[in-house]
């Protein structure tokens, strides 16, 4: 009896998992900038990169924040790499607190015909401030959300 109830529930649950997994909005891989460049289309995508220092531009009347996304952390990359950067326009002014020059971000949106990436969401990650991370530990840490 207990087993039958459990099995039925487990089966129902698996069904929900299936439904959840195919729900493309809630579950998605993100691509690095290079991967996105080689496969970039007009499809909705999530692209990982770093905000190029000095590129942030707040367009208050236009309700946009524009910046360049580069593939490597700013201090590690030669300035020439910035030429390969992706121009991102975030449709909103409410970028997360952790967003800033050099911040590690994931942008969600799609490439427009003009070659710019129109983002409806920017997730910022910050190196953990909880403890001085050992070298090479990378970005240890959190997503601050600014969903639209």
């Amino acid at each position: 009896m207990q087993i039958a109830v459990g099995a039925a529930l487990a089966a129902a649950l698996l069904g929900w998992y299936g439904a959840g997994l195919y729900d493309s909005g809630a579950l998605a891989y993100y691509q690095t900038l290079e991967e996105f460049r080689s496969a970039g289309t007009g499809r909705p995508s999530r692209v990982h990169g770093y905000v190029a220092p000095g590129s942030i531009e707040r367009d208050v009347p236009g309700r946009q924040v524009r910046f360049l996304l580069q593939g490597a952390p700013p201090h590690a990359s030669a300035p020439a790499k910035a030429a390969n950067a992706l121009a991102v326009a975030f449709a909103g002014l409410d970028v997360p607190d952790l967003f800033g020059p050099g911040a590690e971000v994931v942008v969600e949106g799609r490439l427009t015909a003009g070659g710019a990436f129109l983002a409806n969401n920017v997730l910022a990650k910050c190196p953990s401030k909880f403890e001085s991370a050992p070298a090479g530990a990378g970005a240890g840490a959190g997503d601050a959300r600014a969903a639209r």
Binding site: G20, D23, L27, Y29, V60, D94, G140, G142
Partner: protein, 650 residues
């Protein structure tokens, strides 16, 4: 003083090791003398851990920057009480706190051990064994008393993450740890019951209050965590399915399932194996959750520095604990027959079994969603992002039947319920639920079926519980008791039952508050001084912006006059801060909170031209989450409050 702590930890490690050995030997050889040694080790271990914790507190109070841990987590500019909270702001300190709590629980279990001498050796061995692990980590991997080389000692420290400098953050970790470590007692006694082959109800009774205690604090911890996120993080919500939130929710789910199924064993002698498995699962999940968040296995705002060795050791400890417990459970399976079989599908015990399956389903969803990003990283080489939408979509359909069961379950009789009895008791609640569903569907169709179902089921459950109270009070009134006295007598005589109802009321209110998010709205506005933004009958007028110059942060605040339907209500001052030392920006929201809704205002920026960019959230019913949380905690306290027993419980 810090040297004292240093040596206390090392000595405690020795004591814990000796005590574990003595306890295990006493268990094998049935030796009372060795059991007494183990008991003394528990006390001594507690004294030494207390000394170490006091030494670290002293180091923070006196800002002893010789210690690398103090230098990394405290700063002169911090207020004294936040300096104290900095003790658990990092890895080594939180490990020490955890270890101290374990040792304190072990010492607190001594009276229970005296009552159950057969279980004492194994329980003390397991409790001290846990301490060994944490003490070893503290001595060899993450030492809070590690000194900086003299040349590296500075006159000021690095400070604590500014987001943690909040009143709630003073107590949230304490509550959470009190809860998480508290489950070590049922775990240890469950293991001891298996080892000593005394799996009757004695160990359950001995640890019931401890389990409730741990569960109560874990609940408070989770609630406070949500409250902190809401008041500080400035994204407009209280729960984001962040791995650390999930890490505390998973043991809570397992423990809640246990608290229900344990009643089946007490009343009907069934589900013995299952209860033991749940006890094992709960504490394993406590350790596991701590491991995944603290070792940086999954990305989280709470991850401390990611040291490989720490994660590997912790994983080993979790596996060892779970392996020991479940290994022994499997060995003992043949002896753990249930006393009775299920007699009817429509019975209280069947209801509890469904309840348990639903809790397990929730647990499975949360577990999977928390770990899947990491699994996909290992298997497919890249991390997947699972959003809150995934969790909400999957957990809601499981949580709703669970909520329904909250109302139905207590009305079903043990063993076998008669349809007539059910019809009589379910008529009014069913009517209330249907009326609520119909009314809401007409009045607020935009809320969506999920929220409407939640509210309707909530109405059903509330009326069902009110009916229970009313019937019992009427019965007492017939015996000539006044209503006030009758209620007090009811709560006193049957505190578990009626305290449990209050917990259920709290849960209903929490879920109804959560369902309010179906109606939330948000608006991004950029306004100049003198202009206003309107939302849902509220009007926010931007008066002025002012710089803030606090001791350890600066920034700006916007002063906004709030009107409702033209009448002035208040001045809201959302802030945009930058913490100097950490160079970390933070948006502190301003919240106008009523029973019906919260107006949650975030200052995104003061632009170059002086205009303010505001994000305004309209969050309905959020307050009911905290009100429900209060009822929930009150009910739990009522259930576990040690009232003198006067009558035999019904």
């Amino acid at each position: 003083m810090s040297d004292l702590g240093f040596y206390a930890l090392r000595l405690a490690l020795l004591v814990a090791a000796a005590g574990t050995l003595a306890g295990a030997l006493a268990g094998f050889r049935n030796s009372a003398a060795l059991a007494a040694v183990a008991r003394r080790a528990l006390l001594l271990n507690f004294a030494l851990c207390t000394l170490a914790l006091a030494a670290l507190f002293h180091a923070f109070a006196t800002l002893d920057f010789q210690l690398s841990y103090v230098a990394n987590h405290a700063a002169r500019s911090m207020a004294p009480h936040y300096r104290m909270a900095a003790l658990w702001g990092g890895q080594a300190g939180s490990l020490l706190l955890w270890c101290w709590m374990l040792s304190a629980y072990a010492a607190a279990a001594l009276p229970a051990m005296r009552r159950l001498p057969a279980l004492a050796p194994w329980a003390s061995a397991l409790l001290l064994g846990g301490c060994i692990f944490f003490l070893a980590l503290l001595c060899f991997v993450s030492d809070p008393f590690e000194k900086l080389p003299p040349a590296a000692v500075l006159s000021d420290g690095a400070g604590l993450n500014p987001l943690l400098q909040h009143p709630v953050m003073m107590i949230h970790p304490l509550m959470l740890y009190t809860g998480l470590t508290g489950f070590s007692l049922p775990f240890a006694f469950g293991f001891a019951a298996l080892a000593a082959q005394a799996t009757g109800a004695a160990w359950l009774r001995a640890t019931r209050r401890f389990t409730l205690w741990a569960w109560c604090f874990l609940s408070i911890g989770i609630l406070l965590g949500g409250r902190w996120a809401y008041e500080v993080l400035g994204w407009g919500g209280y729960w984001a399915w962040d791995p650390v939130e999930n890490a505390s929710l998973m043991p809570w789910l397992a423990a809640t399932a246990y608290l229900h199924s344990v009643m089946v064993q007490e009343k009907r002698g069934m589900l013995r194996i299952w209860n033991l498995a749940l006890v094992g699962l709960t504490y394993t999940l406590c350790l596991f959750g701590t491991m995944i968040t603290r070792s940086g296995l999954v990305r989280s705002v709470h991850a401390f520095a990611q040291t490989e060795i720490f994660g590997v050791l912790f994983a080993g400890f979790v596996l060892l604990s779970a392996g020991l417990f479940f290994g022994l459970l499997i060995v003992r399976l043949p002896r753990l027959r249930a006393e009775r079989q299920l007699e009817s599908v429509v019975s209280r015990e069947a209801g509890f079994i469904v309840n348990n399956w639903l809790f397990m389903a929730l647990l499975a969803i949360v577990f999977w969603g928390t770990l899947f990003p990491k699994l996909s990283d290992w298997l497919a080489g890249r991390e997947i992002l699972i959003g809150p939408g995934w969790f909400n979509g999957l957990t809601a359909p499981v949580a709703l039947p669970l909520l329904l069961l909250t109302g139905v379950g207590p009305l079903i009789a043990w063993r076998r319920a008669t349809p007539a009895h059910l019809r009589r008791h379910l008529a009014w609640p069913g009517l209330a639920g249907a009326a609520a569903a119909l009314g809401l569907a007409l009045w607020l169709p935009q809320a969506g079926w999920l929220a409407i179902a939640t509210w309707a089921i909530g109405a059903f459950v509330l009326v069902a519980i009110a009916g229970e109270f009313a019937r019992a009070l009427r019965a007492r009134a017939r015996r000539g008791e006044g209503p006030g006295r009758a209620l007090a007598a009811l709560l006193r005589k049957n505190q578990r039952r009626y305290g449990g109802y209050i917990v259920h009321i709290g849960m209903v209110l929490i879920l109804c508050g959560v369902a309010g998010s179906a109606l939330e709205e948000e608006q991004l506005a950029n306004i100049r001084v003198g202009d206003a933004v309107s939302m849902r009958g509220y009007r926010l007028e931007y008066r002025t912006a002012r710089p803030i110059r606090a001791q350890h942060y600066g920034g700006a605040e916007a002063r906004l006059a709030l009107f409702q339907n033209g009448a002035p209500l208040a001045t809201l001052t959302p802030e945009k801060r930058v913490y100097w030392l950490e160079q970390q920006p933070a948006s502190i929201p301003a919240i106008w909170s009523t029973l019906g809704e919260d107006l949650y205002v975030v200052l995104s920026a003061i632009e170059q031209d002086g205009s303010a960019t505001l994000k305004v959230h309209y969050n309905p019913l959020v307050n009911w989450i905290w009100i429900g949380g209060g009822a929930f905690i009150l009910g739990t306290l009522l259930v576990m409050w040690p009232l003198p027993r006067r009558a035999v419980p019904a």
